[in-house]
């Protein structure tokens, strides 16, 4: 009887703790929707999303966030394009081919990389990468979309590598033995058997990476130049995240509300990415 009571109490406590997380998600969603909608309605949905000019403080004010949206899409795609192959092949090497010693060193290095705060990535990018890009491509200034993509692709490496390694190591050894026994080489076994079996885990790694990139603001502000241009590889650009973060401090009135609207757009972006990728992962698991 006493045990039963204890069980119930513990269950209630865990339920409440679980609900706290859900509650916060709902709270943030409601807050973003309530504070983001007015400015969108005032500016006009179409004009807000598809106008190319962002001039919040000029007398002919204009609140078009198309440059931010496109920059975020290009930047994320670029970072995943560079980060995913590197991360994926590192994970394959570390989980299947690497000697124990190398694996140990590499894994602790990756853990360290994951623990570096994003402002440090930004600072190193600003002091090393930006001047380097300026010299290599003989540009007048190195702060550009390219700099942001490179920093972001470095930032997603740890999550891609770690989650992929876990997925690859969860593949039952018997699958691999069977493949090897049938005469497949080690490389064939890894890519045709292990990777296939770990597919959904690797897809999860991609989702995590994409979400980290889309939501990153601090490092990006410091290396991308932060001007509301239409995106181009060597131009100074502004992401959705940096648009919110950089102008929030001194904004007021419609300008401030428009920043909340950008945050809402960003939120929807992340939701869409999550839902689409989850859909594919679930479909693959069933299939």
């Amino acid at each position: 009887m006493k045990n039963k009571l204890f069980e119930n109490i513990m269950q209630a406590i865990f339920l409440i703790l679980g609900l706290i997380a859900v509650g916060f998600v709902l709270l943030i969603s409601f807050y973003l929707i309530i504070s983001g909608i007015p400015a969108i309605l005032e500016i006009g949905v179409f004009k807000f999303l598809f106008s190319k000019s962002w001039a919040p403080t000029s007398p002919q004010e204009n609140f078009g966030i198309l440059p931010f949206i496109l920059t975020s899409i290009y930047g994320t795609s670029g970072a995943v394009l560079i980060g995913l192959p590197i991360g994926f092949f590192s994970a394959v090497y570390l989980s299947k081919f690497a000697p124990k010693k190398i694996k140990l060193i590499a894994e602790s290095a990756i853990n360290l990389l994951a623990g570096i705060p994003s402002v440090v990535y930004g600072l190193v990018g600003m002091l090393v990468l930006v001047p380097l890009i300026k010299i290599i491509f003989s540009l007048p200034d190195g702060a550009s979309l390219l700099a942001a993509i490179l920093v972001l692709s470095l930032m997603i490496l740890p999550s891609i590598i770690k989650v992929s390694i876990n997925a690859l190591e969860a593949v039952p050894k018997e699958y691999e033995y069977a493949s090897l026994a049938l005469g497949a080489t080690e490389t064939e076994t890894v890519f045709k058997v292990s990777v296939k079996a770990a597919k959904s885990g690797i897809a999860t790694a991609v989702v995590l990476g994409v979400c980290r990139v889309v939501g990153e603001a601090v490092a990006v502000i410091m290396v991308s130049g932060n001007v509301a241009n239409m995106p181009s590889l060597f131009q100074s650009v502004r992401f959705l995240t940096s648009a919110v973060a950089s102008e929030m401090a001194y904004s007021s009135g419609l300008h401030r509300n428009a920043l909340f609207s950008i945050a809402l757009v960003l939120f929807l972006f992340i939701m869409i990415i999550n839902i689409t990728l989850n859909f594919f992962i679930k479909r693959d698991r069933k299939g």
């Binding site: 001039a55 919040p56 403080t57 000029s58 007398p59 600003m126 002091l127 930006v130 001047p131 300026k134 007048p140 200034d141 702060a143 502000i221 410091m222 130049g225 932060n226 001007v227 100074s236 502004r238 973060a245 950089s246 102008e247 401090a249 001194y250 904004s251 007021s252 009135g253 300008h255």
Partner: protein, 264 residues
């Protein structure tokens, strides 16, 4: 029963708080650039008298409007009043002067620029340092984000308001200084109080920015921090005392501490 009592009590408390607010606090409203100075002054005043000073950062024009409509006691603006605002019965009192310095990389041989040249540079009409007697290289404009008080002050003083074509818009003085110190062809601006040795400060029309040249008006890239009061509606006792405090000699050190020069 218990619930009713607590509800009643909290309503009473709330009304009490409202009441206290109305006759005790001093409310200020306006320029976001004055956050530091009014924060420092308000805090010192609260320590001295126990009266709270509230500050609503809305921007110079909004602050001027608020005081003329009686929504706050003292308005704060980082620009001079316009003619029609003075005609409406508003009065400005200059509290402090803020100098904005133009900075370049130490490798840049240019040491002096004319006001008209600065204006042309930031509008994108002059694009190469060669045209200004420097080394050949595209001029890289480093500025602040929209809404920044330093940006507004700089653009107003140099007649480039909303016309400047920046290569980078950074969010803090520190970032502007670091970027300029890393790029030999960059030019940027920052408040005189935050400038560091790793960048070169330019003379403008051959005037070196300093407290003296800013006060006598020879250094032109500057702006006043003013307190706006309504002539038609005399200040209540607390607000009047606060106003006297911020214009007194006692406040000068606090103003200097906030990184600007007292007007007195």
């Amino acid at each position: 029963m218990r619930k009713t009592i607590s509800v009643v009590l909290s309503i009473v408390l709330f009304i009490c708080l409202l009441g206290c607010k109305n006759n005790k606090n001093v409310s200020t409203d306006g320029s976001t650039s004055m956050e530091l100075i009014i924060g420092a002054l308000g805090e010192a005043y609260e320590m001295k008298t126990g009266i709270t000073v509230t500050y609503n950062p809305t921007g110079s024009s909004a602050g001027i409007k608020a005081v003329s409509e009686g929504r706050c006691d003292i308005g704060l603006a980082s620009r001079k009043l316009k003619k029609e605002e003075i005609e409406n019965g508003l009065k400005e009192t200059v509290l402090a002067l803020d100098g904005i310095v133009i900075i370049v990389n130490h490798k840049n041989p240019v040491g002096n620029l004319k006001m008209s040249q600065i204006s042309a540079i930031f509008k994108g009409e002059i694009r190469n340092w060669e045209q200004l007697g420097g080394d050949k290289g595209e001029i890289i404009l480093i500025g602040r984000e929209a809404g920044s008080g330093t940006r507004d002050g700089f653009e107003t003083a140099t007649d480039t308001l909303h016309k400047a074509k920046y290569r980078q818009e950074l969010t803090s003085s520190g970032d502007v200084i670091t970027t300029v110190s890393k790029n030999a062809f960059a030019i940027g601006y920052t408040s005189l109080s935050s400038v560091k040795n790793n960048v070169k400060t330019l003379r403008i029309d051959n005037v070196i920015p300093s407290e003296e040249t800013i006060k006598n008006g020879n250094y032109k890239v500057q702006r006043p921090f003013i307190a706006v009061t309504n002539e038609n509606k005399p200040l209540l006792e607390n607000s009047r005392n606060f106003f006297e405090f911020i214009t007194s000699e006692e406040a000068e050190d606090i103003i200097r501490f906030a990184g600007v020069f007292p007007a007195g």
